[in-house]
Symmetry: C2
Subunit: 462 residues, 2 copies
Amino acid sequence: MIKNLKYVFDPKNIAIIGASPKTGKIGNVVLKTMLSGAFRGKIFPVNIKHKEILGLKAYKSILDIKENIDLAIIITPAKTVPKIIEECGKKGVKGTIVLSSGFGEVGNKDLENELIKMAKKYNIALVGPNCIGIYNPKTDLDSVFMPIYRSKRPNVGRIAIITQSGSTGTSILDILAEYNIGISKFISYGNGSVLDESDYLEYLENDEDTKVIIMYLEGAKNGRKLYERLKSTVKKKPVIILKSGKYGKASKAAKSHTGNIAGDYLAYEAAFKQTKTIEANGIRELIDFVKIFEQPCPKGDKIGIITNGGGMGVLTADATMEVGLKIAELSEESKKELKKILPPYGNVGNPQDLIADADVERYKKAIDIFMNDPNVDAIVVDILFQVPSIDDRILNVLIDASNNKKKPIAVVSLGGSYTENRRRILESQGVPSYQDPLSALKALKKLVDYSKYKSLLSKDYE
Amino acid sequence: MIKNLKYVFDPKNIAIIGASPKTGKIGNVVLKTMLSGAFRGKIFPVNIKHKEILGLKAYKSILDIKENIDLAIIITPAKTVPKIIEECGKKGVKGTIVLSSGFGEVGNKDLENELIKMAKKYNIALVGPNCIGIYNPKTDLDSVFMPIYRSKRPNVGRIAIITQSGSTGTSILDILAEYNIGISKFISYGNGSVLDESDYLEYLENDEDTKVIIMYLEGAKNGRKLYERLKSTVKKKPVIILKSGKYGKASKAAKSHTGNIAGDYLAYEAAFKQTKTIEANGIRELIDFVKIFEQPCPKGDKIGIITNGGGMGVLTADATMEVGLKIAELSEESKKELKKILPPYGNVGNPQDLIADADVERYKKAIDIFMNDPNVDAIVVDILFQVPSIDDRILNVLIDASNNKKKPIAVVSLGGSYTENRRRILESQGVPSYQDPLSALKALKKLVDYSKYKSLLSKDYE
């Protein structure tokens, strides 16, 4: 069934069962979204009451459609779903996304078991139920039922998202899109009745479009299976996980939400540590962490800091030491070169304060010096865009520095819309930017640790 | 001299010494900013070369001006400053803001001592040197030399900002403005040669416009004085501090930045704990924390959580327990009332998941029930604005709930521009909003702790 997921992400023709002509209905939002996007296949609405929806011919049953259908998105009441899955099976459908809720998560275990039975009988890759499904920017397959004007969709990139909670997943999708951070695939799997979190991980482990995976998990269907899967996947690509339902009372909330009893957190924590899965504490950290993995692996843990604000430099140095990274000792040659580019009232150092009157040229030279210094493993560039001597050529300098892929680079800039607009440009070009030195350094620490793990692995294979 | 600070914040007439006609120069930015604002006094440019600047008559010396001058903003080279201060003294000026750098922070201790001597001789409240000075939204006195199009200024509010670093202060000012969070006064004091951090605290302790104080500190001029001042100020209003230069190497950066040797962090930490000063770890926390203090003091530590996203509810419950607050046990009456407003497939609980199809009416009723439940001390409302069933009347509901001042309320919403625009509206009306449950709960914990301290204090006085 995992193999059949390829039809879910990249189907030729699709049926939307429960498509609706009524604005605001999920079956309407999904059909509209699919029609408005760049999806290249044919779209067949299925509805027992209507003969035409949004200008398309509607079918009473998927069995009435003559063309082959790879994927059915199902939005009908829970009790109708098992029979519809059976029809899909008879039709030769390879995958379904079941958005409908009303299964195990509200106590209807028998109904969920029927659904599982049907999917297995016909070898259908079933996503859900009780989920918001799939978004694949490469094919514009999009079952996310939040209207696009309320919740943006990211462009093509290399981050995959697996989420047990549809709402949390939507928020992550929306904020990534806001900062122009691209994704490879978005998977909201809800109850995970047929395919669970480990199955999606397995698929993404072998997905060439995916470089890094983030995951929101309340409780695993099968803890041992997840552990084994993480052990394998993390060796190939980083997995960043946000585990919720850590505490007793909160577990109750997790239970009513998607029908899983939240597992014992300490066991999860141990499993994450052993498998080198990167754990994020909160949604902000999840997003902070994933961005840094667009950068190359650093050779060590020594950080070079460049700033045009003295205070920001001090905060960045503090953060470096707080997370357990080191402030690089610059080489003598670097010190000589830095002296040349600084005004007489400037001091050479790390953090290198370029002084508030620094222009783009001074930044460019300082970044070059740090890039060429063998004692510097990664670079944090603090920039106050608010200062009048900085102009937008700084964006090119930072993007070029990131594109050369010599050393990881992270930018720190805090401010209002003028600054935020510039951060979005940087993010769109793969330059991770942060509002706070501590956020940047926490992320860099994860990259340093994962790079160390990868380098140990490759030595093992020698 | 502290008394004379009132002339710095609310001067009748001001002189800008070193005003310049040349775009990009600090003396030009400051004059332009002052002219473009709502400042009601007269503005006198002083410049030895020019007779007219930006259409205003310019004076060779402040002594040539006939009118009384309360405040002089000084932007001339360091070596000229002591003499200018003397002239200000002779003119009867009550306060000066010295933006010029080139004093103790680059080794020119003697020059700084001369400046101190002159200020003391004439009893001048001197802000700086080596700072970006003052912004007071009530009078529109504004010496911040970041152009307004790059760095926004907040409206009138009740948060005061004291910052040793101008750049860090600017970033904070800009981000508060972006979210429509108002301030009472902004003070960047740089070297703090004449008036130091404790003096500004003393002034703000007695400032009726200020309800809460945030402070960025690298190292205190006088540790004992700061300790005694915090002991007094925190009894009246909360002080939230971000202390940088915590570590050895970072201290070096702090030293070169504003001429203070960063003090020993452990001693600071102990002093903050003893005086109940609230410490923030990083800029994000500083901003997260200050917003919550617009809310009323809670009576206890039991949190009620309302959500339309199951996952967000679980994360919020986790965060509640992680920071050491409690999940409220709802009263039997609340449970009965909640049952009435939920659809048949919903469960009563805390977190209360209102289900993804919740509309504004369901939210309003749930918030009312939580407001009236004696077991709930504070309310966290998670909202996915992305969901089609929510409309903008939810903003009125939240603002009304916050305005009634019965219990503190915090909103959690993560998303792109659609969501962010709504967060800005909430913030403009004093409703604190967060992108992440953990950020909200960390802030609430600070409010709970401070409220407990205040309530103990008032019992002492009984």
